[in-house]
Symmetry: C2
Subunit: 334 residues, 2 copies
């Protein structure tokens, strides 16, 4: 299958992918080496074939990576299907058996969180082995809509509320299909006669996410059938503001990231102060900062509640002191 062999509207849509990456994500695809997270389900099958179509014109190197979770009976069949497809397309293929239940038992974390971590660790290992530029995932506009509702429920501030980033250089992640809807991906596969493995359950182990997907999103789509498109627009606004704030905030030298001096907060608008805190907390490592935490810290700082310590997810702490705010990790009690 080549670009010139498929219907013109699909070819045009496919050529929109490098444009989206360049214009909206600031990433040039041409000549890159890409790991494709390929489960053999609808979304990632579309991603694999779309990138395959772009392989020659953009001089891409593709490596498909398949995580075998072993949680569902059809996992073995999916692995075989994925291997065959890649062999037929002459795409390098790598698979890993991830024993999530054992990992979960060892870590004590939730099932979804464990599966996610193990999957990304595997993808990152493939990226390093093949010296690839990016791990590409098939997240699309409907995932974005789901993500926005999840973030709204969780209390994420702005611009985080606009959904997952399209590019995450720290994790080497690229999401080139965020401006596609799931229906568009399905049409692409159907019109090109490409098969995929139907995920029987389509259930996420995260029960909140499941109910958002199966109960809440259908109701939102009933009111606004273009809710995925509306979500993509909100996402676009969020990316614009994300960039604005990254330019508007002062560049803090590394030592200042542990201690935000009072002088650096003087005459700074609250909108900037909140984002300054968030930038520092994010730079400390994983753990999602919520709006309520940031507001609480800012209130404590403005009221000069010295000695007050605000806890953040990921064992991070911000302590209000007379000379400024100290950011540090909580001492774990042994």
């Amino acid at each position: 299958m080549r670009l010139q062999d498929i219907p013109r509207h699909l070819a045009r849509r496919c050529l929109g992918i490098p444009r989206f990456c360049r214009e909206s994500l600031g990433v040039e695809l041409r000549g890159t080496r890409l790991v494709v997270a390929y489960s053999a389900g609808l979304d990632s099958t579309a991603l694999l074939h779309l990138l395959h179509l772009l392989r020659a014109p953009l001089n891409l190197t593709l490596i498909a990576a398949h995580a075998h979770h072993g949680l569902r009976p059809e996992s073995d069949r999916e692995l075989e299907h994925a291997r065959e497809v890649c062999s037929r397309l002459s795409i390098a293929f790598q698979a890993a058996h991830l024993d999530i239940p054992s990992l979960q038992a060892a870590s004590g974390r939730g099932l979804e969180e464990c599966a996610r971590q193990a999957r990304y660790a595997f993808l990152e290992s493939v990226r390093q082995e093949h010296q690839a530029d990016w791990i590409t995932t098939a997240h699309h506009g409907d995932d974005l809509a789901e993500d926005i509702v999840m973030r709204l429920l969780r209390g994420t501030g702005w611009p985080g509320l606009g959904g997952m980033p399209g590019v995450d250089p720290k994790r080497g992640l690229l999401r080139p299909l965020l401006d596609w809807e799931k229906n568009g991906l399905r049409s692409f596969l159907e019109e090109t006669g490409t098969g995929w493995c139907e995920d029987q359950s389509n259930a996420s182990p995260d029960r909140t996410r499941n109910r958002v997907r199966h109960d809440i999103l259908p109701l939102l789509r009933r009111e606004n059938p273009s809710f995925a498109k509306t979500s993509m627009q909100l996402w676009t606004l969020a990316q614009i503001d994300e960039e604005y704030w990254s330019q508007a905030l002062p560049l803090l030298p590394a030592p200042m990231r542990n201690f935000l001096l009072a002088s650096a907060l003087l005459d700074v608008h609250q909108a900037k102060r909140l984002r300054l805190y968030k930038t520092i907390l994010d730079s400390m490592g994983p753990g999602q900062v919520l709006a309520s935490h940031l507001l609480r810290l800012d209130t404590a700082w403005m009221r000069k509640n010295c000695g007050r310590a605000i806890q953040f997810p990921g064992d991070k702490v911000a302590s209000v002191q007379p000379e400024g705010i100290r950011f540090h990790f909580q001492k774990r009690s042994s």
Copy 2:
């Protein structure tokens, strides 16, 4: 009923109202004349009694305004109840019969929109007659949650997505209960033994709003029982950003509001450009600007699509011209 006669935690909460108005809305309540939109339902009954408790300590002048819609059989009973309550509390009372069906027939607009317009026109007439400072309405945190979901569905950008403003000087509107939850208002009434008229239907004539209220919000609250609180935090962030942007945007002299010169857009970040467009469009009058419109206009401008005209709600148009963007009204075809 006086502040010193009610349970202390309620008195404290009541005294939080002037603080919320001062700190979050920038409005000093002391010594003001307030029109209270009083339907005799739960929310506005709580508002009336809370403001009544604050009347002596804050030297407030209160005027209750009751709109009799005549749409429901219990309307007459509610009018009488409202009149009696105000007479008992020695609060000036004014009522108006609003004949919504006739107004709707005359205007050709939707029922909800007509009722809303007629209600606010009545409240504004009472405000002017009594030379009052503000019209106060009983919108609370649960209304905010509903409003945020409505705006999310509609495709409102940021900070508009954060919900209705707490103060609208142009319309003389003040919403002093935005940081209360409906449950808190109910508890206040129950603990003080204050009765209200139960709205039998609790249905809005807007079917989308109804389904958001009765189908979608209960599901969101099931995932996050504090969803009203989470919404209030998002609202707080939005107010902070609203203020930030109002300071960050250049103050345009009136003639420049019809024509945004290319020079005023040069080297201006997209985040600012979008908000500049919105400020101008909002200043032209009613009509809600959505994110998609603003993005479309900006794309047309950056691509220098001269001659391109982008339509906005409220018959507003932005025309891209070589020297800048002209904002004007659409000529109505007769």
